[in-house]
Amino acid sequence: MLEGRLESDGFGPLARAQEHLARRRGFRYALLGLALMVSLALYAPLLASDRPLYLEAVRRGEYERARRTLMPVAKNLASLLAKDEAAFLAARAASSSQTLAAARAGEHQALSTRIASLRASLSPTEGEPLAALEQELAAAVALAERGEVAAAAQAGDALAQRAQELREVLDPARVTLLPRRAFPAFAALAPLESGLMVAWLGVLLLPFLARRLGARRVLLASALLGALCALAANRGGDAFHTASYKTELDKLELEPVRVCFAPIPYGYAEQHPEEALRPPTWLAASELGPDGAYLRGGRAPRADPVTGFVPETRAIEVRAGEPAFNSPLRHVLGTDLTGRDLLARALHGARVSLAVGGLATALLLFIGTLVGALAGYFGGLLDLALSRALEVVVSFPLFFLVLVAVALVGPSMWNVVLVLGCVGWTGVARLARAEFQRQRELDYVAAARTLGFAWPRIVFRHVLPNALAPLLVAGTFAVASAILVEAGLSFLGYGVRVPIASWGGLSSESRELAHWWLQLFPGLFLFVTVLCVQLVGDALRDALDPRSARGGLA
């Protein structure tokens, strides 16, 4: 995000470098590539998902389930309404510790949900009896809460009776079911995710808006908008809650009127076991017969020379929204061990790589700057101690140390971030130390000291902004190196775990050279990303700090 901001902003020490950067073509392309990668990563749940982006459908399955269970639930509630506390305690199983009130509330809730989901599929006129039922329900429960058991029991019986009648009245053959609209892929987003997606739009529009509105204003507005979106996300709205939209669409439990799937209609963890390890589908070698057997090349099923056993194949299951089984677009990059689409996984893998790169760098910049600033500004014993600590950490090969630490702590994305941040700060700390040592001899620091400013104010408000440029460059290189380390860890099986995708993990799924697509494509994404970050870093270094030729982690 930082890189995106640099292009057209004009504050701090970056202003001087702007002209240099504007002239550099490689920098622009790299920035563009990086923006593309971040966009792919951020919008991956909308680009590749097994949920439709937009769905207008009759929810026949849900309606039927609600209709069938309406009466039993009402009966349960009626029997609970007829009991007083003592009878309930006597009747309940010894293991259950539920109170009567809780049991009633549970049944009440269950009945209300059913009524609501039935009403949602009916026109207001046809839903009239349901509204009446809802009122009766409220009245009966209110009676029970007041302790009028006899009256409540009566009302409960009436309720059950009514539910029994409604079951016939609401038969789908007699009423017309209305289609409902939903945005399942959007509804599945976490609040933070949707907020970031909106905010990133502002960053993407920056080059076009910055001249007219000012970069700072655009960024501020997009950040605000993103925060608003994050707060408003997933409040209310009519979401279809089903485990698998594709299955329900196939079984016509969802009767589609209009449905729009994501460009890549696969979830990152969606499996197609009968298509395991299928080569990219635009290749002739990937062509399948209707029985699921490869037609050409070395992949055609052959009988075992000794046993005569012919490996069994299964017909390909083409689910709702997916391209036909021999379409070149079916699995553009092939599939992995359990038939998950590699392209969908690679897009989701970008999230892990970029998140680890960004977060780990933020952490190591923080630690490194703090250590370097203290050592450089104060010198003396503190410097000696911190420098020894630094030398100890430098003495371990970075990748090796991170591997051991992550493997011992337990592999997960957050642990990778934490360990990388706690181990990779040495390069930044060295730079910061040298810079602070140089700056503290300058007049303005002496002036600040004479004015009686406390050291935190001098160090962080006065010196730090002046020492920022080389740290920023080192930070950019650290992003590249963090991404590489994470990929290496995942390749060795100590990064993020399946089913979460990561570029390194995808490459290691099969070591067989015959499955070349698994080894080629995820690495390509990784390589392009690292190349872009590196080019941006090179350009920044030349622009901000022309003298230094070093940077990044070893």
Partner: protein, 342 residues
Amino acid sequence: MLPYVLRRLALFVPTLLGITFLSFALLQLVPGDPAEVALSGGSTETAVDAEALARFRAAYLLDQPLWKQYLHYLGPFDLSAEGHPWFGGSGAHSFGGLLSGDLKHEIHRPHVRVIDELGRRLAVTVPLALAALLLGYLVAVPLGIFAAVRAGTAFDRVSVVILLVCYCLPTFWAGLLLQLAFGATGLGWFPVIGLAGEGASFAERLTHAVLPVVCLSYGSFAYLSRQMRAGMIETLSSDYVRTARAKGLPERLVVGKHALRNALLPLTTLFASAFPALIGGAVIVETIFDLPGMGRYAYEGLQQRDYFVVLATTTLGGVMTCLGILISDLLSAVLDPRIRHA
């Protein structure tokens, strides 16, 4: 010179201690009871014999305070019940720990001493790393100089792009691509996994080593070459080079004698950065090419939860890198008087 060397060596000792301490501290990160995890190999299903557990804890002082465990690991005195009489032991096994060269035995193969196995593994890793380093210094450095002298020409531009690409290639991906391109699926020039067996000819050994060495070296190769080019360009634009040109020296002398000497200085510092990268890269390269080296040993130790293997390889990795840094510091002090008088 001598004061500088002494000062540097004096600083080296606390760093070494710090390395052993950090390696030891790493093991404390393991959640749960290390003894149980180690004996069960990390799986929860395996039942662990209580008696074996107690013996294991006693032998490695796992029920003692941490500082005692650390001293026991550091040596040279064995602090266990059979340890040195000074510390209340029986004296049967007085010395032990790192300083006496005792790295314990592997947990899952109790007859194998870690230090012996480490020697066997180093015999694979060190030649590979040296070959990679040699390739780096003998080819990358001249390439960098040549590109700097010809800065701006087509040769320079092409080499800059290629080196940048090499610099950004992920190690594991490069290894996989090398296997795809040169293994049986591609050109079929080189074997892609393992080492040549016993009694293989020199040529066979060489063909087995080509891909791993290339995979191990391209990163430091690109790094060295890029740094060399940048350093040389900086030197060539300095005042004294201009003076040399102004007084009419032939270009050959200006570059080969005046500029080169100063541009070569950073090479010693670069050694300190290239060396750890080689050791770190060894883990991935040895895993991909299935070589029984030190990196693989560490990886296997992690997989089997063999803490003594992990501890030994981590410490060794740290000590080797630290030695590399020390050597490069001393070398630059020898070559550059400004450093030793700073």
